[in-house]
Every structure is written in C-alpha cells, then in structure tokens.
C-alpha cells in the first residue's frame, strides 16, 4: 500500500475549444430564485398529496359534534408541494450557504450525522408514555447527556426538560424561588444588568419578581459597586450572562458570586454564550448556582428558522432538590423516570411541560459531544474566541470596537461611531452586507452600545470565509467613508426582495391570508 500525500491538487489540462476558462463564479446574484405564491393562491381546494385508504365512516357516535362547514385548506400533490417549498427555501440565507455571524446566536455548522441519529426509529419513533422497560436506551441517552453537561459545567445536577433558553431561565428562577420559599424567605427582587438579553427581565417578571437593573462599567462589565449597593435582603437572584452580551468575560465573576451569596441571594448565569468557554472554564468553579445551556447554540442542534431548541439547566447542590420532574435515575433494575413530585422529588417546584423535554435535541447534542470529545470541545472554545478576536483585529482600523482594550471572547462588538457624519446607520450596513453575500451581524444589541454591531463568527468558519467577510465589511466601510450613501440606503439590491416596510405591517396587521 502506498501512502498518499495530502496536498493541493494540480489543475488538469482542459482542452476547451478556445482555450479560455470561465472565471470562478462569485456568490452574487441568485438568478434561480423564483417568485412563488401562497398555497392558498394556488387553488388546490379539493386536491391531496397523500393516498389514504377508503374510510368506512360511521360517525354515528359523534352526532352533532362533527364539522358541518369547510375548513378552507388547500392541498397540493407531492411534486407541487416539493416545488413550492423548495422555491421558498431558496429565498433563505443559511449557514450552509455563507457565514452567518449573528452575535449571541452561535450560528455554527450543524453536522448531518446528528440529524441521522435523531431519526433512528429507536429515538424518533418512541412514545413518551410507553413503559420505561421499553425505552431503556432513551433513558440511558438522557443520563449520558446529563453526565456530559454536569462534567462540562462542573455542576452536580441538571434539569433536562426546559424546551429553550428562556424556558431554562424560568426553570432556574423557579428553582431559586422554591429554595427561598423552603427556607421561609419571600425575597421579591431580581437584579439584571442593563446589557442582558430581553429574556432575563421577561423571565424574572413571569417568575413573580421585580426587576432592578445593574449598571455597567465603561469597560463593558457589571458595575460591582452598583451591584453591591443594590444587593440586599429582598434580592432573590442576580442574573448575569457570562461571557456577557458585549462578548466580554466578567473578570470579577468570583466577586459577583461572593457578594451575591453574602447577601443571601442566588447567582443565575445565562449560559447563552457558553460556547466561548466550553472545555476551558466550568461555571461551577465561578460560584454559579444555576445556568441554562442552549443546546441549539453551544451544542449545535439546528436553529431551524427559529426553533426548536432545548435549554437544560445545571443546578448547584442547594437548588437540585427543587428541580422539576421528570428526571432519570438508575438502579439495579435499570433506568427509571421520576415523573411525580413525591418521594425524592417532593420538593420539586412543579412541571414545566408535558413529557420529558426535547429528546430529538438530546440525541443531536450528544452526537455532537461524542464527536468532539473533551479535547474537541476545548478546541471549539479556543477557535471561537480566536476567530472573534481575529475579526476584531482585522476590522478595528476602520470600524470602531465598542471595547477596544483587551481581548474579547467569542464575539466582537462594534459601535456606530465610525459611521458618524456619513448619514448611514447600523441598519444600512446590515442591509448592505446582504448584497455582499453574508447574513448581517446582530444589530442594535446589546442596547448599551450605540448602533451596536455584534459579530460572532463561531469556530466552524474557515479562515478564508472569515477573511472574505472581513474584506466585505472593509469594502463597505470604505464606501461609507467615501460618501456612497446610495449603496447603503437602497440595500439590499441583490436579495429576493428589497427593504420591507415593517411600519405598514405593524400599523395594519395582516396575519393570515384572506380570500
């Protein structure tokens, strides 16, 4: 057997008639994009794309309970259905198409192995309420996922069932509330930094708390003095995102934890940005009491155009007894599912949803973890942070970093100072980036930075793609400074649609098709 060296292939001779080769196409226009009406405008009112057996309908038991009027749903044959949705799909940007650097969203590659695994009949075709003796593999998978999450975070317990990040936040705060109530403590306030995700104050309010904001320092971190001043006997929890939404590590995190605990409060960490530290830092070593993990961010379950996600919450020893059912335990007879708030679960705060959480996401996340392993996950954090700092370094000459001093973590944050006097806004830059073939960065978030542009490249972008992105932004910066306002104000020019009128949509909402 001969060892074959890996290297650049040589270009084969191509005998074209005129001896010329076409230039490699740039990702510019998408000439194949076709206009497509709504299914309701295609008119297949009696059509169906499925073949079902004849029904021998005897609805005599249901007298007076059955429909008497048409529903109003069109149908399409299979070829028409495929064409319709494939045409629609071509109007979407996607990670598989080009870089998608939405800060705070962690748009990384979604391995297809994970999709294949989630579709194994042993996972996809099992009922949540079939006897536990018939789903031992599923419970083993949940147990294994829990082990990985606990080990990676250095936390003793995890509640798997929350269905997304915000649901995880709710789970964490309700566990905190239950722990406080168990000690007869009726604290009513949650402290949240001004830079927090909107879900943090929204969740705190839903969990029954008053929200008080904590100020931020000039270098983008929690103002410890303000935190100390606002901590007191009424504070139930402090919710801090770390790394924070400015893409910075809260370097005083141990002091935040110490002050919080000294005041008798709990330290909730928003783990949306765990991707920056996975395998290198364990939140359990930072004094965290509860933290949700977005499996659809750090562990790469696909975002799917807005969901589904999964938001398991790791919990400290103090909070673990209050975790909601269900959870998995093991014994001599195999794995068991604790579904009721009795016995060991007597202190559980209740149930968050039907069944056991997002099994399909658990399978994908575990496949991702097994693929990377402890070494690969550490590399994930390192490459994600490296990529963001590289973007920051490459762009800082032309754009204005919001926090120029020191390294960032997994995302680079710029403000709009570099656009001053150009008449161009962050929104215009975002729309112009579409014409360059990229999905825009997160804009106007966090709220604490004027005209914020938050860029998260993630570890799954090649250097070549990151360079292409940086060069596109640098081109736009040059155009902006040269006064080429039209390139921005009219953008996007090359998308399936031009800029959409969101004001009209909100003034007279049309939320469904009508004949």
């Amino acid at each position: 057997m001969t060892a074959v060296a890996v290297g650049r292939p040589t270009r084969p001779e191509v005998a074209n008639e005129d001896g010329r080769r076409g230039a490699a196409p740039e990702a510019e226009g998408r000439g194949l994009v076709q206009d497509e009406p709504l299914i309701f405008e295609r008119g297949g009112w009696e059509k169906t794309g499925v073949d079902l057996p004849e029904a021998d309908l005897d609805a005599s038991d249901l007298a007076g309970l059955t429909r008497t009027a048409p529903i109003g749903l069109p149908g399409l044959s299979e070829p028409e259905t495929l064409r319709h949705y494939v045409r629609l799909s071509q109007k979407n940007h996607a990670i598989d198409l080009a870089m998608y650097p939405l800060g705070s969203c962690t748009m990384k590659h979604n391995p297809r192995l994970n999709e294949k695994m989630a579709r194994l009949p042993g996972f996809a075709d099992i009922h949540p309420l079939q006897p536990v003796s018939t789903v031992q593999g599923a419970l083993a998978l949940m147990d294994q996922l829990a082990h990985w999450l606990k080990t990676l975070t250095g936390m003793p317990a995890v509640a798997l069932s929350p269905k997304a990040g915000a649901h995880g936040e709710l789970c964490g705060l309700l566990a905190i509330r239950a722990a406080l109530e168990a000690r007869g403590d009726g604290r009513r306030t949650v402290l949240v930094p001004v830079s927090a995700h909107g879900t943090n104050p929204a969740t705190a309010a839903i969990a029954g708390y008053q929200v008080v904001e904590i100020a931020q320092t000039a270098d983008g971190r929690v103002d410890i003095g303000d935190l100390a001043a606002k901590l007191g006997p009424d504070v139930a929890a402090v919710m801090v995102t770390n790394p924070n939404t400015c893409g910075l590590f809260e370097r005083d995190v141990l002091e935040i934890a110490r002050l919080t605990h000294a005041a008798g409060a709990f330290f909730y960490c928003d783990g949306a940005n765990f991707n920056a530290i996975v395998g290198r830092v364990r939140p359990g070593d930072l004094g965290v009491d509860a933290m949700h993990i977005n499996l659809h961010k750090t562990f790469s379950t696909p975002h799917g155009g807005g969901g589904p996600g999964a938001g398991p919450v790791v919990l400290s020893e103090a909070l673990a007894p209050f975790a909601p059912a269900p959870w998995v335990t093991s014994g001599p007879e195999g794995f068991r599912l604790i579904e009721r708030n009795t016995g060991d679960a007597a202190q559980a705060f209740g149930r968050l949803s039907a069944f056991h959480g997002q099994m399909g996401m658990y399978v994908r996340a575990l496949a991702y973890m097994l693929s990377h392993g402890a070494d690969g996950l550490r590399q994930v954090a390192e490459d994600a942070v490296l990529a963001a700092n590289y973007v920051k370094a490459r762009l800082s000459g032309e754009l204005t970093p919001a926090f120029p001093d020191g390294p960032c973590m997994h995302e680079a944050l710029f403000d709009d100072a570099w656009l001053e006097d150009t008449g161009i806004t962050t929104l215009d830059v975002a729309k112009a980036l579409i014409d360059e073939g990229f999905h825009p960065m997160t804009m106007y978030f966090p709220l604490v930075v004027h005209g914020a542009m938050l860029i998260e490249p993630t570890e799954t972008e090649s250097k070549r793609e990151i360079d292409r992105f940086c060069e596109a932004l640098l081109r736009l910066a040059a155009a902006a400074k040269a006064g080429d306002v039209a390139r921005f104000k009219g953008a996007p020019f090359k998308a399936p649609l031009r800029r959409l009128d969101e004001t009209a949509a909100a003034r007279k909402p049309r939320l469904k098709w009508t004949p």
């Binding site: 499925v50 593999g137 939320l511």
Partner: protein
C-alpha cells in the same frame, strides 16, 4: 476534528494578526483559579462511524412504535409522516437558518410561517394564530396567563378532562403569577362539572376536547356560561388530526384555542420537540405570546412577509413582555405546514375518518374482552377503558409480550383514583392484525 476548519498554520497566523502570543492570552480575563489546565474528564473525540455505532446501540435498546402493536396516545400520537416532509425540513435553507430577523433574506421561512398561521387559524376556527410555541402544554399555560391579562382576573378553572401534564404546567406558571388554579376532579365526562365552577373572579375556563379520556364534547354551553360571567374559554386539543372531523373550537365559542401540533408532520420523538398551536380572537392579538408573521410590501411594492407586533415580545418589552418566549418550534411548524399542504382539506378529513374508524374497530375488539368496560361514550381516536386489574400491571405484562398497550391513568395522575383505567389509541398506523393481537393478549392477561 472534522467540524473545525482552522489549521495550526491558520491559528498561528490569526494570533499574529491579533498580536497575542498564544491562545491563553485571549482567556486572560478568566480568573486564574477557574482556568482548566487541560480537557475535562470525558472521552476524546470520535469519528462519525464510532458515534453512529454508540448511538445506534442506545437506539436499539428502545422498542420503537413501528416495531409492533402500539396503542399509546394521551397527548402524543403516532401518525404516518410523508417522506417529502422530512426532506423539506432537512433542506439547509430551512434547517440551518435563524429566526427571520432579516426579512429580505428569510422570505422562505416567513412565507411558510404565514401559511402556518393561516392553516392554524382555519383549523381552530379563530381569527389569528401565532408562529408556534414550544408545545401544546406550554401553549395551554400561556393561554391561561393571557386570559388573566385580558380579563384582569385571577382565577383559572381547569376541567378534570384536561391532560394532567397540561394542568400541572399551567399551574406552575399561573400560581407563580398569582393566578389561582382550580383543577376539577378527573372524570371521563368531566366537562359537565365545569360550568358550576365559574364565578366573577374567573379569568378563563380551560376545557380539552377530545379530552384526556378521549371524550368529545360540544363546549358551546360552556362558552356561553363563561362569557356570561366575563370569562374567556380556552379550548385545548392534543390530537390535531381531530380538527379534520370535529367542530372547531372557534365554531363552539372558544376565545383561545391551543393544541399540540405534533400529530401533523412530527415524529413521536419521546415527547419532543413538538409544536404548540395558539390561536385567538383578533381583539386580543396584542396580548398574544410568541412571534407573529405579517404581510407587507418591499420598497418596490412586491409582497413580502416580516415578523411583526414585536413590541409584545421580550427583546423589546423586556419585563413587560406578554411572555418570555424567544426560540419557538419553527422547524416543527414547517413540518406541520408541509404535511398539512400535502393533506389538504380532503386528505385531512379522510385521515381523520380513518383514525375514527380504526378507533371504533379497536373499541369493538376490546369491548368484547371479558373484564373490559369501555368508559368513553363519544371519542375520536382514543378512549378510556376500565380493566378488572390494575392497568399499569397489565401494560407491563403486555409489554413483555411486545404489545405496547396504552397509557395507564395511574402514570399520568395517580391521585385520580383510576388505577384500573387504561387509555388506548388507534390511528391510521394501527392495523387490524395489531388490534387482534392486542385483544387476544389482553384476554389472556385478564383471565390469568
């Protein structure tokens, strides 16, 4: 590592551009005591083949529903999903895109959501539907919260026919917010008792049809009673296929309809991810939770779609938002919409009729077994039956014979005092042979 494109040379070059001596320098803000020196104590990376083997071994230890007779319903239903549905949702452009915050390059997702909202509104018989919530149970909890906001009242009446998990999830959210939850006693025809529990404090009445015992109820009278005292009626449906045959919630006077949409387009998947349907009257649209997609035009006058009425949501309204939800069930909603498009009204009606027919077949076969008493008088595709033995033990015994017999009520609600009641379900995937095998095995177990 196959998912990480950066090479050692890339990393060195990038560090040089940054001006950092090594990767550790980029983690300088982490307190030294919290920096891990090396990988945590977990296995090292593995190839695709190894991972596939490991997970396939776990999958093989589960009895999949398609591997033999299976009769579980009670909130999750096994239906046939056309192959093209899964193909569409695995397209990169749908699978690997984010929430459509940049509408110019997300029209695919947005138009599909607009179609989804239109389909859900039509199915529920209400004016507006949102772009999905996590699942039916959380949609139900959100409906209770919304009713409390709309009516500014503080009591929710939950029918004893409501799925116990739904009731528990609603309690968790509601009692936290100071809304008192009155959960009525479990009964096969629990809806009869609902009207009597409505009072001047009642924000909403939550009724499920078909209920957890399978009973189909015309809730029009409950709607009238609720409205007469200023309360809203929330109608819950866990089996969305039933919309094809039964009167819609809107037709019966519901103010809010919520449902589990899993049945259409989505796999059982051991309980998730699923898709919560949420529809209501137009007058209450600004109190709705979750994302809404709306129609508008672009700068050249071409029709397009955007997320709209966002000031209800957490990213703008923060602590005053109507819900904390952000990520929803987008891809499951797409699966729902593609499957519904394939079905069309004709296919959905046929599917519903086949389901009802199979359930009647199941009822007839089981009713003939000595020791079985069918309890549900009017059902769609699931029903409750009393056995002359504890249902959980019978289910275990039949599982040992490779028949998944259904869901014992004791597993869902031990406090109901219905340990001898079994919930069974049949769908278009239930074959006559399956039913015969079940009836025969049940006959033997009950005779033991």
């Amino acid at each position: 590592m196959r998912y990480l494109p950066l090479t050692a040379a890339d990393r060195a070059e990038m560090l040089a551009v940054i001006g950092a001596p090594d990767i550790d320098a980029l983690f300088a803000d982490v307190p030294p005591a919290a920096r891990l020196a090396g990988p945590v104590d977990l296995p090292r990376h593995a190839g695709e083949l190894e991972v596939e083997r490991a997970l396939s071994r776990l999958a093989a230890r589960n009895r999949s529903s398609g591997a033999g007779p299976s009769f579980c319903g009670a909130g999750a239903y096994r239906h046939h999903v056309p192959a093209s549905v899964d193909h569409i949702i695995q397209r990169s452009e749908f699978l690997t895109s984010y929430t459509p915050y940049q509408p110019e390059i997300a029209q695919g997702t947005l138009q599909a959501l607009f179609e989804f909202q239109t389909q859900v509104a039509a199915l529920t018989g209400l004016q507006v539907a949102n772009a999905s919530l996590y699942d039916g149970s959380t949609a139900c909890a959100e409906a209770v919260m919304m009713a409390a906001r709309v009516t500014r009242r503080t009591k929710a009446v939950l029918s004893g026919g409501l799925h116990p998990h739904y009731a528990e999830a609603a309690w968790t959210l509601a009692h936290t917010a100071g809304v008192r939850v009155e959960r009525l006693a479990a009964a096969v025809d629990a809806e009869r008792a609902v009207t009597g529990a409505i009072d001047a404090d009642t924000a909403c009445v939550v009724v499920q049809t078909p209920n957890v015992f399978g009973t189909v109820t015309d809730v029009s009278a409950i709607a009238e009673a609720a409205h007469a005292s200023g309360a809203l009626l929330v109608v819950v449906t866990t089996e969305a296929v039933s919309y094809g045959l039964l009167k819609s919630p809107g037709e019966m006077g519901a103010d809010i309809a919520v449902a589990e949409g899993q049945s259409i387009g989505n796999a059982l998947s051991f309980g998730g991810p699923y898709v919560g349907l949420f529809a209501c009257r137009e007058a209450h649209v600004r109190q709705m939770p979750g994302r809404l997609c709306g129609e508008t035009a672009d700068a050249e006058g071409k029709r397009g779609f955007v997320l709209t009425l966002s000031t209800r949501e957490q990213h703008i309204r923060r602590e005053k938002a109507t819900s904390n939800i952000c990520t929803n069930s987008g891809l499951c909603a797409l699966a729902f919409t593609v499957h519904m498009t394939l079905l069309g009204e004709a296919g959905l009606r046929r599917l519903a009729e086949v389901n009802h027919g199979r359930a009647r077949m199941l009822r007839d076969a089981l009713a003939a077994v000595p020791g079985v008493e069918v309890l549900t008088p009017r059902f769609f595709n699931e029903l409750a039956m009393r056995l002359d033995k504890p249902a959980a033990a019978v289910v275990e015994a039949l599982a040992a014979r490779d028949i998944i017999a259904g869901v014992p009520v004791s597993r869902l609600d031990p406090a109901a005092g219905m340990d001898d009641v079994l919930l069974v379900c049949a769908t278009e995937t239930t074959m006559q042979d399956d039913i015969a095998a079940f009836a025969e095995a049940l006959r033997e177990e009950l005779a033991r």
